[in-house]
């Protein structure tokens, strides 16, 4: 009983053939497993360790290096606000503070209903369209506090 869908498992098996070693596709597999399951649970880690012929410790060792990978659940919508230089110069810190106030949570915290989590992140590659944030993988750019409210509303109403 694997913790990911058969479709995802098949996709991993096929992609792994493109590499000369079993562990090469591990980082993408961790990310795509997290996308499906919500976080890297003990079951997912055990599954990927088996699939790549690594120990669970070796897999956890890799996980701890990469900032997009989480071993506990984030919110359904993970808000990542950049405060690095180009965004900071155009109000990125204010956008972060605005999100903290609106959501009532801080850095790496999740709302009680599990809808939103918040993280202050490093440069996401939106410098010329700053300030910017990502909600999961979606970019939201050229932000103001008002536009940020609209972004949050957009996702809030998705959960109904």
């Amino acid at each position: 009983m694997i913790p990911v869908s058969d479709k995802l498992d098949q996709f991993f098996t096929e992609k792994m053939k493109e590499y000369p070693t079993r562990r090469s596709f591990l980082v993408p597999m961790l990310l795509y497993s997290q996308d499906e399951v919500g976080y890297l649970s003990d079951e997912v880690i055990a599954y990927l360790a088996k699939k790549t012929d690594l120990t669970e410790l070796e897999v956890r060792n890799v996980i701890s290096y990469y900032s997009l990978l989480h071993t506990k659940p984030m919110g359904k919508y993970h808000i990542q606000v950049c405060t690095n230089i180009s965004c900071m110069l155009r109000g990125g810190e204010e956008i972060l503070e605005h999100c903290k106030k609106r959501l009532g949570i801080g850095h790496k915290q999740t709302t009680a209903d599990g809808t939103f989590s918040l993280e202050e992140v490093e440069c996401i590659g939106a410098c010329s369209w700053a300030p910017a944030l990502q909600v999961n993988y979606d970019f939201h750019e050229n932000l103001t506090p008002e536009k940020t409210d609209k972004v949050l509303e957009q996702y809030r109403t998705k959960t109904g």
Binding site: V27, Y66, I85, G125
Partner: protein, 442 residues
């Protein structure tokens, strides 16, 4: 979202297909797509390399190493499999130029990879895209599938009898992985800890085989070089600094955006003409010329610089990644130095002491300093710590942390002194003192 902007001074080569739907392979073919690789299939490997050498194309990721020379380092006779690896881990603060290439012209990257493979005898390419750029991974996946479907990739490319396979790969959040040896470690399924050099990737790379690692923009430039000829590309820029490149304007500027300009373009013109100058009636204070890892320029210095590798190299400085960040006269340079150091401290892989300990110590010192707890000796100590990292770390991330810090302390010492004596930050009217100076504190 990631809107396109333009300016009459632009010379659109690598951005010539932006906004024209060229991610779709049929559209790409209508816009001279895949003509370059077909021409390259009629050339010898040495001819391809010579064309790229003639073009004076230099790495667009930040280091500016001559591309043709890098390719020529790959051994001709070897039993090991050779690889082309696209560095799509764009994460240098201020840099957002590979993103529009991957979005608007992914096939140009694929074409560049195949041509590089023909030049060095590699039959496999990997396109590594940072984890945050998921929508671009999706675009690249489709582009690769479409290229395979048309027989442009696979066992018999363009009916030539030659084989070339190209695969996509993604990261999961790590700036250091943009360093070429850490990139290989990540692609091999490990923590992105760098490798010792020598040997260099062109000789010992992925899974021990010779590997050419190039930035997205570097490879996307290659098909244009093959079609127009290396000399024509070279002539857009000054000697040894060929062609055009994408510059990302950001920060306190009226018209932020990604602009393609010739190497050697005057930075003053870039700021006031292309960028439309500084908003809110303020004046220029400082410029980050090419990503946070470069020496920060004063306004006076910036207004004299031409944007090519050697103009900076002559001064012992770096053109960098194309990320041009503009700071106005209301920017606190101490706060800026702190934010930059927070970034490097966070992204340090932790492998070597100078970087791991140095960035941590600097972040703590700069934090205390900006919060009001600074002593005069801290100013010299900040420079001393940064110099202690420079040239002593296992990979260039340590240097990248030290370089901006040293330039900010050297050029804006007066701003550091304004923060002494428990005074709040002079640029932030709402600043609160959270620490008081304590003699004997680090």
């Amino acid at each position: 979202m990631a809107d396109l902007t333009s300016h009459p001074d632009e010379i659109k080569i690598v951005s010539s297909r932006f906004g024209k739907g060229a991610a779709d392979i049929e559209q790409y073919l209508k816009l001279d797509g895949y003509k370059a690789v077909q021409k390259a299939l009629t050339m010898t490997p040495d001819n391809i390399i010579n064309e790229v050498k003639t073009s004076n194309l230099r790495g667009r990721g930040g280091a500016g190493f001559p591309t043709g020379m890098k390719w020529s380092f790959v051994p001709k006779d070897t039993a090991k499999a050779k690889y082309i690896l696209v560095n799509g881990d764009e994460s240098e603060p201020g840099t957002c130029k590979d993103r529009p290439i991957l979005e608007h012209d992914p096939h140009a990257v694929i074409e560049g990879v195949i041509i590089a493979g023909l030049a060095v005898g590699a039959k496999i390419g990997f396109v590594y895209i940072r984890g945050e750029y998921r929508y671009l991974v999706d675009i690249m996946r489709k582009a690769l599938a479409d290229a395979y479907a048309k027989g442009f990739l696979g066992k018999n490319i363009f009916g030539s009898g030659k084989q070339f396979d190209c695969y996509w790969h993604t990261g999961a959040g790590a700036y250091e992985v943009g360093e070429e040896s850490a990139l290989m470690e990540s692609l091999e399924g490990k923590r992105g800890v760098p490798r010792i050099r020598p040997p260099f990737p062109a000789v010992v790379g992925l899974w021990g085989g010779p590997t050419v690692i190039n930035n997205v923009e570097t490879l996307a430039s290659v098909p244009h070089i093959i079609l127009m000829g290396g000399q024509k590309f070279a002539d857009f820029g000054p000697p040894k600094n060929g062609g055009t490149r994408l510059f990302c304007l950001s920060g306190h500027i009226n018209k932020p955006g990604v602009y393609e300009l010739p190497l050697g373009y005057p930075l003053k013109k870039m700021i006031y003409d292309v960028g439309g100058g500084i908003p809110n009636g303020r004046k220029l204070k400082a410029v980050v010329p090419g990503g946070s890892s470069t020496f920060v320029l004063t306004a006076e210095e910036a207004e004299q610089m031409n944007m090519d590798f050697d103009s900076f190299g002559k001064r012992g400085e770096f053109l960098g990644s194309g990320g041009v960040v503009i700071l106005d006269d209301q920017t606190c340079m101490v706060k800026f130095a702190l934010r930059v150091m927070k970034f490097y401290q966070h992204e340090s892989c932790g492998w070597c002491i100078p970087c791991r300990e140095g960035t941590d110590w600097l972040k703590k010192t700069l934090t205390r300093f900006h919060n009001g707890g600074g002593l005069r000796k801290d100013i010299d100590n900040i420079k001393y710590l940064a110099q202690g990292i420079l040239g002593r770390s296992f990979c260039p991330l340590g240097d990248a942390a030290a370089i901006p810090t040293i330039s900010i302390v050297d050029k804006w010492r007066d701003e550091f002194e304004m923060h002494l004596g428990g005074r709040p930050c002079p640029f932030d009217p709402a600043a609160k003192i959270t620490e008081l100076p304590v003699v004997g504190a680090h």
